[in-house]
Amino acid sequence: MKDVIMETVQLNKAFSLGETIYAVNNVNIKIERGSMNVIIGPSGSGKSTLLSLLGGLDRPMSGDVLLEGQSYRALSEDQLALLRRRKLGFVFQFFNLIPHLTALENVMLPLQFINTPHKAAKRRGLELLERVGLAKRSRHLPLQLSGGEQQRVAIARALANRPAVILADEPTGNLDTKTRDEIVALFQELNQQEKQTFVMVTHDPSLSKFADQLIVMQDGCVVSP
């Protein structure tokens, strides 16, 4: 029996832009532990909205998300935040590093949230930066790093709390080809060596080809699988 780590149950999210638009319409998907899942689809098909719902960053109009059996619907905002803190990691297209914190401080941030002692957090931060090849850049501010380096820091930050699932929204969308390949290789490595579960939204076919599960979306609905 497959180990499902995350699933959605008839998930709905609609917006009103003059008329009602279902960005996510009755979506039922299952994410297996340790798998690489890629969500693709044309612009406006609801990929990012689905990712936001999976991450508990937004509330659905109806339906539910289950992470390791825990229903989001039953959780208050504070409880949902705790769940994000302990079980989810995020990687954004525009990196979203905190500009006045160094690379190391950015990576240590999620560890602060779970009250990791400073020394242990620093050790873990440095270890992660080394893992993504940026040990020597730990004291640099995000503005002193290239796009690819910033994304590596963001990935290290996402890994900090050993999350059950990493959700990535267009992680290579803002990178040049060479850097994109490096980041893709890093994702693959983390997935294959450390059995890290990924759910990624992308337009990038180079990521799609490594997917264990390819989720194709159109007009808010999952059309494949």
Binding site: S16, S62, P99, Q112
Partner: protein, 460 residues
């Protein structure tokens, strides 16, 4: 708590200019409040003292209406000017005196045996040149009085030195020691010092003859005037104080809103990493506490420094530490008011709203039932329908509905929403039962959810 303190430090690193502005604004307000309040306190104490002095010094005030004022300042006569203020060593009374002007009641004093001061000789009448002119009397020499009694005892009792009012050029008679604030007020006031056993009535009568349209006050007027001035000042201060703290609140609100707008992306990151809304609220409170505390400390320091500088320059001003507590209370209130809106926005906002600059409602609520009872809908309610009324103006829905008649609905599902107050308020209409949309009337805004078990039973 330690992690939140770290976050406070990080927020200050991120937006230190804005927080520095908030601290400075707080400090200046606190300093201004302490200086002003302490100064008013001292002024009040001085005024009280002056009121007492004025009460002792002055028995009578004459306020002249404008039409009665003299065109030019009048110089006192030589003998008048040279004569010192009579002491209260003379008995006195009022006397009727015949003059070409008619019978006047004059005030008289009679030096007692022990008196050795330079009062005029008995029978001498000192008269102000103004009076003399008004009365048609000679300004010097002996005045013929009808009463033989006066030959031995009478002195016209009017005392003081004369000068022109700086405001109006009108004549003022000042008693030494008269509070400057009264003497230089806009009132055109003459003060006369009388022997204490002369009747006020007599004095009033006399002066009324000299200045027919004058309004004569007794000594209490000085006190009233001083009290009034003091009260006016304090009332003014109440308004000023309100202005100070309103200004502070608005300034802080602007600063915190700017800090919030500036840190939206950062807040979205923190939220996505798991910062809970409650912790976010605490973060805002801690930021405010640090800012308010620094502002209070700096403001108090500034107030004491200003006081020292003023004292070095000869201005007596001592800061009263007892005003620190009210200052802290007012600063606290200003911070509570100012931080409420940005904290509420940060607390409510979703990560996407913060990240993609979407409108964040200040107020949101969930509606699950009708507010009023409608007779025509009673039968549906009896069948277990859930009924909602959406806002409709002139037959047009003021919001958005996600469902149409026949659509399936699940318990907890958001069926419609209505923004109001330019998007600052947000109402969600939520299903409380599983069922299907059985009714939607756009003209009235009624939305009805038919429960699942009644799906095949048409409403009666």
């Amino acid at each position: 708590m330690r992690k939140l303190l770290r976050l406070v430090r990080q927020s200050w690193r991120a937006a230190w200019k804005i927080y520095a502005a908030a601290v400075l604004l707080t400090a200046l307000t606190v300093a201004a409040y302490l200086i002003y309040q302490s100064n008013m306190d001292q002024l009040g104490a001085r005024f009280s003292q002056q009121v007492k002095e004025a009460d002792l010094l002055a028995d009578l005030y004459v306020e002249l209406p404008l039409g009665q004022l003299l065109a030019e300042p009048v110089q006192p006569t030589g003998s008048w000017k040279a004569r010192p203020t009579p002491q209260l060593a003379a008995a006195g009374r009022s006397l009727p005196v015949n003059t070409p002007y008619g019978q006047l009641t004059l005030l008289a004093i009679q030096p007692d045996a022990a008196y050795a001061g330079p009062l005029p000789e008995p029978g001498t009448v000192l008269i102000n040149q103004v009076f003399a002119t008004n009365l048609g009397l000679p300004s010097s020499g002996k005045l013929l009085l009808s009463s033989a009694e006066l030959e031995s005892e009478v002195t016209l009792v009017i005392d003081g030195s004369f000068q022109a009012s700086a405001h109006s050029g009108h004549l003022l008679a000042l008693v030494d020691g008269l509070p400057l604030s009264l003497a230089t007020s806009a009132y055109n006031i003459f003060l006369y010092e009388l022997a204490d056993d002369l009747t006020l009535k007599a004095a009033r009568t006399t002066l009324a003859h000299f200045y027919p349209a004058a309004f004569v006050f007794d000594g209490q007027f000085a006190q009233l005037l001083a009290q009034q001035t003091l009260e006016d000042s304090y009332q003014g201060f109440a308004g000023l104080e309100l202005l100070f703290f309103t200004f502070l609140t608005l300034g802080l609100l602007t600063a915190f809103l700017l800090a919030f707008l500036d840190s939206k992306r950062e807040l979205s990151v923190l939220k996505s990493l798991g910062l809970a809304p409650r912790e976010l609220g605490t973060l805002f409170v801690l930021n405010s506490l640090v800012s308010a505390g620094s502002g209070l400390l700096l403001g108090t320091g500034l107030a004491f420094l200003s006081s020292s500088i003023m004292q070095m320059r000869g201005v007596l001003l001592s800061i009263k530490p007892q005003y620190l507590l009210p200052a802290s209370g007012r600063v606290g209130l200003a911070y509570c008011l100012a931080v409420a809106i940005p904290a509420n926005l940060a607390w409510r906002a979703t990560v996407n709203q913060l990240l993609y600059d979407q409108t964040i409602p200040l107020i949101s609520r969930r509606v699950t039932a009708l507010r009023k009872r409608y007779v025509t809908l009673e039968d549906k309610l009896a069948q277990g329908w859930q009924l909602l009324q959406l806002p409709v103006i002139d037959g047009v829905l003021e919001g958005f509905i996600f469902k149409k008649v026949g659509d399936q609905v699940k318990k907890g599902e958001v069926l419609a929403f209505a923004p109001s107050w330019w998007g600052l308020a947000y109402t969600e209409y939520v299903a409380t039962i599983d069922g299907e949309v059985g009714m939607w009337q756009e003209s009235s805004g009624f939305l009805g959810i038919k429960p699942l078990e009644n799906r095949n039973t048409p409403p009666q």
